[in-house]
C-alpha cells in the first residue's frame, strides 16, 4: 500500500523560518529607531530648549507639533534603520560590521544616555541648596530630636495599631495562597504551551497579572479605600490583590525553572496531566513556594505601614494623623516602633527561610 507521504522539506522550512525571523527583526529595529529619534527630538525641544535655553515655567503643548515630530521621526527612523547603520539595527543584531556604522551607533547611544541623564537631573530639580539651607537644617533638627524624645503617652494606642498592621499583613498573605497557587499553574509556560486553548488562557492571565502587579499596593489602597471605606479592610484587600499578582509570577517562574527530567520520567509512565503535576512538579516547588510566601508576609508588613498613610488602617493611618497635626514626638514614637517591628519581621522571616532549606 502506498503511504500518503506528507509534503516535507525540512531544509526549506528552516530557511523560510530564518528569512521570516529576519524580516520581523528589521521591523523591530526600525520601530526602535523611530522611537529613539522621536525621543531625542522631544527631549531636545522640551527639556533642553524650553527649560534650559528659554527657561520657561509653563511648557507650551500642541498636538500638531508632536504629530509633526512623529512624522519626521518615522521618516528618519525608517531610512536610518533600513540603511542598517542605526542603533536599532545594532540592538537587533542586523547592523553592518563596518567601522563607521559602529561609530555612528555608539555615538548615538552615548548621546541618548547623556541627554536622558541631563534632562533627568533638570526634571528632579536637584538642589544642594535645599538640603543645607537654614530652614532645611531646622526641619531636620525637629524630626531627629523628636525621634530621640518620643512621646510614650500614646504607646498603648500605637501598639494596638501596629498589631493591627501585622495581622492585616498576615491575613492578606494567607488569603493570597489558594488563588496564587491556582494562578501560578495556569501561568506557567511549560505547563500551558502544549495546546492553543491552554496557551491562550496563559497569555490572557499573564497580561492581567502584569497589569495588576504594575499598580503599586499604595494605589490599590487608594482605590479600595474609596470602594470599601477607609480602614484596615481596604488595606488588606489592596495587599491581597498585589500579593496574588506578585507571587503568582514568582511561583510560576519557580514552576518554569523546575528540572524537566522528572516530568519526562513521570510522563513516560503513562500518567495524566494532574498526576504529572502532582508527582513531578509539586515536590520541586513546595519549598520555594513556602519561602516566597513567608518573605511576602515580611514585605506586606512594611507595605501595610505605608498603605496606612493613604487610609489603609493600622499604624500608618495613625502616623499620618499625628504628622498632619505636627505632633513630632508622637511621630517619633511611631517611627521607632515601625522600625523595630520591621527589623524583627525581617529577622524572623530570614531565619524561617533558612530553616526550610
Amino acid at each position: 500500500m502506498l503511504e500518503p507521504e506528507l509534503e516535507f522539506h525540512p531544509r526549506e522550512k528552516i530557511l523560510k523560518k530564518r528569512k521570516n525571523q529576519e524580516k520581523i527583526n528589521l521591523i523591530k529595529a526600525i520601530l526602535l529607531d523611530i522611537f529613539f529619534v522621536f525621543y531625542t527630538i522631544l527631549v531636545l525641544q522640551r527639556a533642553i530648549y524650553y527649560k534650559v535655553i528659554l527657561d520657561l515655567r509653563e511648557l507650551p503643548f500642541s498636538w500638531t507639533e508632536i504629530g509633526l515630530f512623529l512624522v519626521v521621526s518615522i521618516g528618519i527612523g525608517t531610512i536610518w534603520g533600513l540603511s542598517r547603520t542605526s542603533l536599532g539595527a545594532r540592538i537587533m543584531g542586523l547592523a553592518e560590521e563596518t567601522k563607521s556604522a559602529k561609530l555612528v551607533s555608539e555615538i548615538f547611544a552615548w548621546a541618548l544616555f547623556n541627554l536622558t541623564f541631563i534632562s533627568g537631573w533638570l526634571v528632579t530639580k536637584i538642589s544642594i541648596i535645599d538640603l543645607f539651607s537654614k530652614e532645611g537644617i531646622e526641619g531636620a533638627n525637629r524630626i531627629f530630636s523628636s525621634l530621640f524624645t518620643p512621646e510614650m503617652g500614646i504607646f498603648d494606642d500605637a501598639l494596638f495599631a501596629i498589631i493591627e498592621t501585622i495581622y492585616l499583613a498576615l491575613i492578606a498573605t494567607l488569603l493570597s495562597i489558594p488563588p496564587t497557587l491556582i494562578l501560578s499553574f495556569v501561568t506557567a509556560r511549560n505547563l500551558m504551551k502544549d495546546n492553543i486553548f491552554t496557551f491562550s488562557i496563559y497569555y490572557v492571565l499573564r497580561i492581567i497579572l502584569n497589569f495588576v502587579r504594575s499598580i503599586e499596593p499604595l494605589i490599590w489602597a487608594i482605590i479600595f479605600s474609596v470602594w470599601v471605606g477607609i480602614g484596615p479592610y481596604a488595606g488588606m484587600i489592596a495587599l491581597l490583590v498585589h500579593t496574588i499578582a506578585a507571587n503568582a509570577k514568582l511561583y510560576s517562574e519557580a514552576i518554569e525553572s523546575i528540572e524537566e527530567g522528572p516530568v519526562d520520567a513521570i510522563t513516560a509512565t503513562g500518567a495524566n496531566k494532574l498526576q504529572i503535576i502532582w508527582y513531578a512538579v509539586v515536590p520541586q516547588i513546595v519549598l520555594p513556594f513556602l519561602s516566597f510566601t513567608i518573605y511576602r508576609w515580611d514585605i506586606n508588613v512594611r507595605m501595610a505601614t505605608v498603605i496606612g498613610l493613604v487610609g489603609g488602617g493600622g499604624i500608618g493611618t495613625m502616623l499620618m494623623q499625628y504628622q498632619g497635626l505636627g505632633q513630632w514626638h508622637e511621630v517619633g514614637l511611631i517611627v521607632i516602633m515601625i522600625a523595630i517591628v520591621v527589623w524583627i519581621m525581617d529577622y524572623i522571616s530570614a531565619k524561617i527561610r533558612e530553616a526550610i532549606y
Binding site: E3, L6, F8, P10, R11, K13, I14, K17, R18, E259, G261, P262, D264, A265, I266, T267, A268, T269, G270, A271, N272, L274, Q275, W278, Y279, A280, P283, V286
Partner: protein
C-alpha cells in the same frame, strides 16, 4: 520473531531549526537487546523520545505492536506509554520522595487520578513495588529518601519504577553514562536480567563499545541523525568504528 517496533523515515526538526533525525528507519523484534550508538549530538536521545512521544516526530511513522502511534493522543497515548518503560541518564527520580513512592509512580498510568494523588496505592501494588526493588537488589532502601542513594542505586530505583509498568519495551537513554565502570557493568547486568528473564525488549543508548559488545544482540549507529550502521556488535571493526566516530577516534576499554 514478532515485530514489536517499526520506525519508518522518521524526521525530527526542533523549533530551534536543528534537524536532529533525518529519515531514520529500523525494526525491533521481541526479545531483542538493541543498542544505539553514536557521537554526542547524533540524535540518540531524540530517537528514543520520539518513540514514546516525549518529543513529537516532525514526519515519518512509529508503529508499536503493529499499531501506528505517531499521531495518537490523550488517553490512547497514555495507554501505549504504559507499555513502554524509560530509564534516563540522570535517573530522574523525585528526589524528596522515598524510594518506594518513586517506584510506585511507575504504576500511575494504571491508576485513577484521585487515589494516586492521595497516595492510595492498593496493597498488591506495594507488594509489586517491593518485589521489583528486590529484583534490582535494593529492597532494604525502600523507605530511604531517593536523593540519599548513590548514583548506581538511584538508577536501580529507576529500573524498578519502569518495571512497575509491566513494559513490553524498555527504552534506556545512556543509563550508565554518569556512573563509574564497575557500577556501569552491574547496572547493565540488571538490564540483561530484565531482557532475558522477564522477556522485556530493550533499546539502549550506549557510549562504550566494550559494553555494547557484551550486552547488545544488535546495534544501530547514528551519525548526524542518520543510520550509518546496522548489524551485530561483532561486525564493528576498526573501519566501522572510524566511520561512526570519526577518523581521530580511538577505542577506550572499559571492563
Amino acid at each position: 520473531m514478532k515485530q514489536i517496533l517499526e520506525v519508518r523515515n522518521l524526521h525530527k526538526v526542533y523549533p530551534s531549526g536543528t534537524h536532529a533525525l533525518k529519515g531514520v528507519s529500523f525494526d525491533v523484534y521481541e526479545g531483542e537487546f538493541l543498542v544505539v550508538i553514536g557521537l554526542s549530538g547524533s540524535g540518540k536521545t531524540t530517537l528514543l523520545k520520539c518513540i514514546n512521544r516525549l518529543e513529537e516526530p516532525t514526519s515519518g511513522t512509529v508503529r508499536f505492536l503493529g499499531e501506528d502511534i505517531t499521531h495518537i493522543h490523550g488517553k490512547h497515548l497514555r495507554e501505549v506509554r504504559r507499555n513502554i518503560g524509560m530509564v534516563f541518564q540522570q535517573f530522574n527520580l523525585i528526589k524528596r520522595m522515598p524510594v518506594i513512592n518513586n517506584v510506585l509512580a511507575g504504576k500511575l498510568g494504571y491508576m485513577k487520578t484521585l487515589p494516586s494523588i492521595l497516595g492510595n496505592f492498593p496493597p498488591e501494588c506495594i507488594q509489586e513495588a517491593i518485589k521489583n526493588l528486590e529484583i534490582v537488589g535494593i529492597k532494604e532502601y525502600a523507605y530511604e529518601r531517593a536523593d540519599k542513594l548513590s548514583g548506581g542505586q538511584q538508577q536501580r530505583v529507576a529500573i524498578a519504577r519502569s518495571l512497575m509498568q509491566s513494559p513490553k519495551l524498555l527504552l534506556a537513554d545512556e543509563p550508565v553514562a554518569s556512573l563509574d565502570p564497575a557500577t556501569s557493568n552491574s547496572i547493565m547486568q540488571y538490564f540483561e536480567k530484565v531482557n532475558k528473564e522477564l522477556g522485556v525488549t530493550v533499546i539502549c543508548n550506549l557510549h562504550f563499545l566494550s559494553l555494547v559488545r557484551r550486552y547488545a544482540s544488535r546495534v544501530i549507529a547514528l551519525k548526524n541523525g542518520e543510520i550509518v550502521f546496522e548489524g551485530s556488535p561483532r561486525e564493528i571493526d576498526e573501519k566501522w568504528f572510524k566511520t561512526i566516530y570519526g577518523e581521530e577516534a580511538e577505542e577506550v576499554e572499559i571492563r
